[in-house]
Amino acid sequence: MSWFRDLFRRREEESRGLLVRRIARFRRVLRSYGRFLDLVTDAAEKQGGDFVLDRSYVLALAERALDAADSMVFDFAVLTGDPGWRDGERARGPIRWERFEERLARLREEIQALLTGPDAPGSPPSGSDEEPEYRLLRAFRRLAFPLTLGEAGPPVVEAEACRSLHDLVHVVHERAGDSLAGLAGIRHQIPQDLEVTSKRPGADAPPWSRDFQVAASTRPRQAGVFRRVAEIVVADRDLGSASAAWRVAARVDAAPGLSFEVLDHGDGFEGPVEPGAVLDAGRVRSVPFRAFLEGVRAGDPGAAAGGAGRIARAAVTEETLHCVVWGPDGDPDLLDARVGAGRASNHLYARFAAGPPGEGTEAPRAAVAGDVLSRADLAAARTARAVSVWVSGLPAPDMEERMRLIGRVFRRMAAGGGPAGEPDGPVGHERSEHE
């Protein structure tokens, strides 16, 4: 029946479109996160005292850091479209992104109080040799930039626990990755008995007004709120069909026990690709994916790829790769990269789930990822949940070199992850669904 096929095809196309939009949104989160980390590095360098800086530098620094955080929280909201309800029950208080917004608002107040106050709290006494501008910078950095989510902290951090701006943006970027990785499994249900309140009396009710009002009723009224909520709801309504996108994925057997379902969003492969086709790695045209696969296969180039094992998912274009491998306890390992001729837009972001703790103080997976990647000039942040690494702005050959390294680490993680390559690997998506 052609109408039936058309219906499915249309659903798949819509799903692919949604996936592309969400990946693009995730990249915006990463871009803002990178911007924030650059500010942290820049401010630390300036604090060294070798610069001529004035108060306006500190004010501009704070403004840019808050702007990056604000963008991240907003993009996270659009990405998740989470009204805070799951399976008919309220998910731990108000909607997640709103809690991040509230926390951000409080941090903003603290920062503004610091910058406009007569004395910078926690700073050296005004009688010290340090100039006031440097004292202010030090106080601002102390308030906004420490990452306090140490390895000993709880694995899942709530917005309220974020003590600094850095904590907040770190958690937001982690949650954004979670959201994207778990796209196919996310469900949202608005309970039928929910009391909704219109925040805009007399306004025409759009088709999605019920969702709109739910979101608006828990959202502070401010300029732009309706535009924002509208976008969130659109994303949310589309969410249910997201898993359909992967039905047309091709498969690349990368290494023994590790295969990738791959969606090509533009010139990711040589030649036309049929849905469900099993492709040789030689067909991969995507620059970052090709380099990544070279790293994955580097350990045992002669071994036969494929076989029973874990399925990872990747979305590629000629210059981009977004990939997820499910790790231990359902936490995903995540990779997002752009490698092209335009050096300025190149970036590489990877996150490895820490996994269960070992006998020592650190989880073996986290130790492996941290040790290997710290030798590759990648900025790294470690928390109890994950090790995340980041680099941007390098020329393509340098990015490819790092992609190969990341590929080797991914392979090691997928094979068990511990320093000695423990046989018990993380629970992942079994290949049986494709066989």
């Binding site: 300036k46 070798d50 610069f51 001529v52 800086l53 004035d54 108060r55 306006s56 530098y57 501009a60 100039e131 006031p132 501008e133």
Partner: protein
């Protein structure tokens, strides 16, 4: 023997003059610093300087106005614009109106010395000798 070059530094943030004065004097230039644009303009009316370093964004007078004022009196003076709010538009306007160079804050004193070295050479001065750390 060359006479020492004269430099006027104008920035309403005291820390800028405080930091730059010793760094520039160290290379043998004569330096006067000002935080008040009106006072700086009065001084510029009294004598010509070889190099003027001015901030862009100040309360009463903008650095661009200072630039125009200086060049209307002395075309040979090299004006270096510094700002914490660097935008392409401001940089373009400054350069179109005759600024010698545009420097975004924060910068290292050595960055300014490098620009001053070029300005000095453009004025026929032998320039600034390199320090060991440069």
């Amino acid at each position: 023997m060359n006479r020492p070059l004269s430099v006027l530094i104008l920035d309403d943030e005291p820390i800028v003059g405080k930091r730059l004065k010793p760094a520039v004097e160290k290379v043998g230039f004569e330096v006067e610093t000002f935080e008040d644009p009106a006072q700086a303009l009065r001084r510029l009316g009294e004598r010509d300087f070889d190099i003027v370093v001015t901030d862009v964004r100040m309360e009463e007078v903008s650095g661009i106005q200072v630039l125009e004022h200086v060049l209307s009196r002395s075309r040979r003076t090299k004006v270096i614009i510094i700002t914490g709010y660097a935008t392409v538009e401001v940089a373009r306007e400054a350069l179109v109106k005759g600024a010698f160079e545009f420097l975004a804050k924060p910068f290292k004193p050595s960055d300014l010395r490098a620009v001053m070295d070029r300005a000095a050479r453009a004025l026929g001065h032998p320039g600034i000798p390199k320090t060991p750390e440069e």
